[in-house]
């Protein structure tokens, strides 16, 4: 499985105080990324057993980021995404791939424009360079091509001190 969100943020060591859920953005089969929707029944069963054992919410392991037509996987992952993954082998049957900091910046910028709030502070904790934010902004604008999205995106960039990036878009 390929994991983004809080658990991947913890791995970077830059954002530690995230919630406990594990967000799956894609699955990896024989080295090829594929959609995590629907989740494999065996994985769902195992996740529910762990939830019972550790007292976690039933959906602690979920595919929310890549759920439905507007999901991250469905809409297209950033260019070079799979080459940047790092992985950890937990057992013969479980290898977890964690997304790279640059891809976190892409996803966090998109979530920041979409939902605001703590996604913005998460984004800033990743200390993005102007070039990284510009790449993320251009990717985000391919996911939502509306004028409204571009407007909010530029407003966000200006309010967090990246005026030059906003001007370049």
């Amino acid at each position: 499985m390929v994991v983004c969100g809080g658990s991947a943020l913890i791995l970077t060591g830059l954002v530690n105080r995230t919630t406990q859920d594990v967000d799956i953005v894609a699955l990896m089969r024989q080295g090829i990324l594929c959609s995590p929707e629907p989740m494999p029944p065996s994985l769902l069963r195992a996740a529910l057993e762990v939830a019972d054992d550790l007292g976690l919410p039933p959906d602690w392991l979920n595919n929310h980021p890549s759920h439905g037509e507007g999901g991250l996987f469905q809409m297209g992952l950033p260019s070079g995404f799979s080459e940047r993954l790092s992985h950890r082998v937990y057992s013969q049957g479980l290898t977890v791939h964690f997304i790279h900091r640059l891809d976190q910046i892409h996803f966090k910028l998109y979530a920041s424009v979409d939902r605001g709030g703590y996604h913005i502070t998460d984004l800033l904790a990743l200390s993005p360079s102007p070039a990284e934010l510009e790449a993320a902004a251009r990717w985000a604008m391919t996911h939502d091509v509306s004028d409204g999205f571009a407007l909010v995106l530029k407003r966000l960039l200006r309010s967090i001190g990246y005026d030059t990036v906003a001007e370049r878009l």
Binding site: V113, R115, A125
Partner: protein
Amino acid sequence: MTPSLSDYKPLVKERLLDLLWRQWTTLGVTGHATLWRRTLIDPEALLLVSCTLARHDPRLFDALLDWLAVNGRYVHVQRVRRLATDLPFAGEPVFAAMAAETLSTASATKWARSAKPRATATGEQPLFFLPNGLPLPVLHTPDPIFAAHGFARDQYEDRHTAQSFQTRCNATLILKLRALVGVSARCELLAYLLLNPHGSPRAMARVCGYYPATVIKALSEMMDSGFLCSRIEGRQRHYSLDSRTWGTLLLDSASPPWIAWPSLFSALEQLWLFLAAPERDGQSPLAQASALRRLLTASVNGNLARSGLNIPVFQSEAYTGETLLPHFMERLGLWLDAVDSLG
């Protein structure tokens, strides 16, 4: 070399937020923090201090709102109001907005009295702040409930991540007692008598955050159960409990020290607000020390002394002029270390 106050401020913020995350995670907020296990957590004092500090951590703030939807029935709302009146806590307007939000999700009528906006609410004050102290931008239509209370934020959405509180540790004793016998002053009184050899109604009212009349009436009725003892000492009646028997029943391990969290959190919040004040960065060290000295004398030292921690308070008279600043930073570090070790 001693850092400047502006360099010191983010360190204090991180340590305070760590403390809050540890306690809230133990109470059922889902988070990646070391659980708070040893001393009792005071839910109302924690909630009040979070109304100020969690404005610097929107993730924690929203996790609290999620938590209130699940566990809000165990919060003593009247006690929150009493603590906010009794001690210098700054978060009451934010608490009113939280109460209004909880009212809409938990349908708890007990929140209604606390959910009224202040008449002066303008909807222009940012609720959250970025790490550099600037307002967190509001990108979409502001949350109408918070806007009615004078705070601008994006729409709050319950993520349904909160769980019930941990039951296998002493830290959640107050919530466990409330779940067992109901939300009333008796839970704090029972906990106080469990962790202290005895107590007078006046002392218990002060450290537990209740009106003396409430405590006197509750103790008088609790005496009728036959489980409490009392004796007259001077002009005061002192109450006690067979803590060995009750401790076996209610505590998981050795009896932890009693901490007066309302006093401790109020003092820490006051110090944070001093550090975070916008005018602080432009002041000379002498002006900073002068403002700090007045704050320490007016409320902070008194509340720290009443907290139950055996750490010397700030020596504002021994350190004249700007020499107070390095002493303050060194001593606050000691206090934060001591507080951290309580969990």
